[in-house]
Symmetry: C2
Subunit: 307 residues, 2 copies
C-alpha cells in the first residue's frame, strides 16, 4: 500500500532533502504541499493546512518541514485530524509542547515521529556497536559550519525559539545520545550571543559521564572554508573518528564506513515502519541537553552578526 | 518507627525551614548534619558527606538543602549508599541530571523526593478542586520579591545553574502545574539579565493552554516594600485569588483559606509517606517550564545589579 503524504513548508530543507526522499521512496506518494508562497510542479498545492486537511482526508501522513516556532500549532491540527505526523528537528520550540504532542498522538492512536536525521547517517550503527564494549577516555564533538551558507537569510534561526547554533549542534547531540552506551548530562556550558541576536552563534558544552571521560562539544557557526562535523573518541581500546556528520567512520586511522548522505531516505523508511506498526518515536534527549545548556550556560555577548 | 535523617547544607533555608520541620515531626530524628562550616547545637556534625555515609549506616534518609549546582554529586553519593534522598527545589541544575537521579533511585529501590515546597501550601487542594470544573479565561502569576531580603549575599543564585529569579518563580510554576486541570506550555518569554550576572532578575512568561485563556507569569526580584506572591484566576464561574504564596485563597472576594506557613512540615510528612511506601515523587514539570523559558526566551540586558 502506497501512503499518501503531504509536505508542509517548502523551504531549503524540503527541496534539498524531503522531496527527493519522498519521491524516491515507492512506499510514499507526495500528494500535496502546504506553503504560503512555494509549490512543486505537478503536486497539488495548498496555502493553508486546514484547507488541505479538510479537502484531502485520503492523505494519512503530514510531514512538517517548517521552522520550530509555528510547528506545534500545525502538528496539533494534523494530529486532531487523525493524521500521522513527522516533525523536522528540533521537534518544537519547547520541551513541554513536545510532551503535549506525544500525549496527543497517543490519545489519537496515530504515529508521531520526532525525527533526528543525523541518527540515520551511515556510520551510526557501526559506531554504536564499537563503543558498547569500550571505556571512553575522551569524547569531543566539533561541529563548525558557516551559517551564511546553510541558513542564508533565515531570520527565524536568530529569533527566540530558533535555537541558533544549536540548530546544527542538536544534530551532533542526536548522534551522541544514540551511540553512547549510557546517559550523560551537561555540567557546564558557555554560549556566545551576538549582541543583536536572541540565539547563540557558538557554544561549548561539557558533560558529566559514568566513564569520567573528558567529554565536550564545540559548536561554531562562523567557520568559513572547509566545514567540520566530526566526533573524535579515544577509548581504552583504540580511537574512533566520525566525520561528515556521521557519514564516515574510521577506527585507529583506518576507514571503516565511507558512506554518503542517505539520512532523509532512511528517515522516511523509518516513518513507513512506524506508520505500519502504529508506533511513535519521540526521543527528546537531544533537546533536553539544549534546554539544559540554555538554563545553566554562561552567556557571553559578542559583536553584532549580520548575514 | 522513627526515621533517622541527615541534613546536608546548613544555610538560611535549613535554619528557617528544614530544621524546625524535622525536629517538630515525631516520625523523624535529626541525627546528623553535613556542612563545611556550620553545625547545630546538640546534633552530630560532619564536614563531609562521604564521612557521614560511612560512619552512620543507621541514617536512612539524606535531605539536601544545598544550592542546585553541587546537588547532583551529593545525591549520587547518597543514592549509591542506599539512602532515601530528599532534594530541595530546583532538583538540580539540569533536567538530564534529574532524570539520571530518578533512574538511579529506581535501580537502588530507594525513595527519591524532588520537593516543591509551594505545592504544600495550605490552599492548594481547595484551589485545585475549585478549578476542576471551570473554564479559565485569565490566569496571572505575580511573583515579586526583594532578592536582597531573601537571598542576602548568595552569589550562587547569579551563577550559571543558579536560576536567578526563577529560583522563587519556580515555586509559582510548581503551584500552577499542580492546580491546573491540564498541561500548558510556554510560547513566549522575556528574560531580563543584569549585565554583570548570568541569571535573570526578572522574567515574563506566556503560556499556550487548552482554554485559550490569557495565561502569564511575571517574576521580579526588585520589589522593595510589600512582597507579592499572588495568582489571580478569572473563570466562567467566578474569580479566585491565591496570595501569600498559596497560603491564602479567596473566591469572588470572600476568604476561603486563611492558612499560614506549613509547607515544610507538610513536605516532611510527605517524605515519611514516600519512605514508608518505598515510593518516589519526581515531577519535573516546573523545571521543564524554566528550561523552556531559557531556550525560547528573548534576552534583554539591563543595568548591573549588586547586592
Amino acid at each position: 500500500m502506497v501512503h499518501k503524504i503531504a509536505l508542509v513548508g517548502i523551504g531549503k530543507i524540503a527541496v534539498d532533502q524531503h522531496i527527493p526522499a519522498i519521491t524516491n521512496n515507492p512506499d510514499f506518494e507526495l500528494s500535496a504541499t502546504v506553503s504560503r508562497h512555494a509549490s512543486i510542479d505537478g503536486v497539488e498545492s495548498y496555502t493553508s493546512l486546514d484547507d488541505m486537511l479538510e479537502k484531502r482526508p485520503d492523505i494519512g501522513i503530514v510531514s512538517l518541514a517548517i521552522p520550530p516556532q509555528p510547528r506545534f500549532d500545525y502538528a496539533v491540527k494534523a494530529l486532531r485530524a487523525g493524521r500521522h505526523v513527522m516533525l523536522e528537528k528540533p521537534p518544537g520550540q519547547s520541551l513541554a509542547e513536545c510532551y503535549a504532542l506525544e500525549k496527543m498522538a497517543q490519545e489519537k492512536g496515530v504515529s508521531l515521529f520526532a525525527t533526528w536525521h543525523s541518527r540515520f547517517a551511515d556510520s551510526i550503527p557501526a559506531a554504536k556497536d564499537w563503543l558498547k564494549s569500550r571505556t571512553i577516555k575522551r569524547f569531543r564533538i566539533t561541529w563548525k559550519e558557516d551559517v551564511r551558507r546553510w541558513h542564508p537569510g533565515q531570520e527565524w534561526i536568530w529569533e527566540p525559539g530558533g535555537l541558533g547554533v544549536f540548530d546544527p549542534g542538536i544534530n551532533a547531540l542526536s548522534i551522541m545520545t544514540e551511540i553512547l552506551p549510557y546517559d550523560v548530562h551537561i555540567n557546564a556550558a558557555k554560549l556566545e550571543f551576538p549582541s543583536n541576536r536572541d540565539t547563540p552563534i557558538a557554544a561549548h558544552l561539557a558533560f558529566t559521564n559514568p566513564d569520567n571521560a573528558v567529554m565536550d562539544a564545540v559548536f561554531d557557526w562562523r567557520q568559513e572554508g572547509p566545514q567540520t562535523w566530526d566526533i573524535d573518541i579515544e577509548t581504552d581500546q583504540g580511537e574512533m573518528k566520525m566525520s561528515s556528520g556521521g557519514a564516515k567512520l574510521s577506527i585507529d586511522g583506518k576507514s571503516i564506513v565511507e558512506g554518503s548522505d542517505h539520512e532523509y531516505a532512511n528517515l522516511y523508511a523509518q516513518m513507513h515502519t512506524l506508520v505500519q506498526n502504529r508506533a511513535s518515536d519521540v526521543d527528546l534527549s537531544p533537546m533536553i541537553h539544549v534546554c539544559d545548556a540554555y538554563a545553566l550556560g554562561k552567556r557571553i555577548t559578542i559583536a553584532e552578526f549580520e548575514f
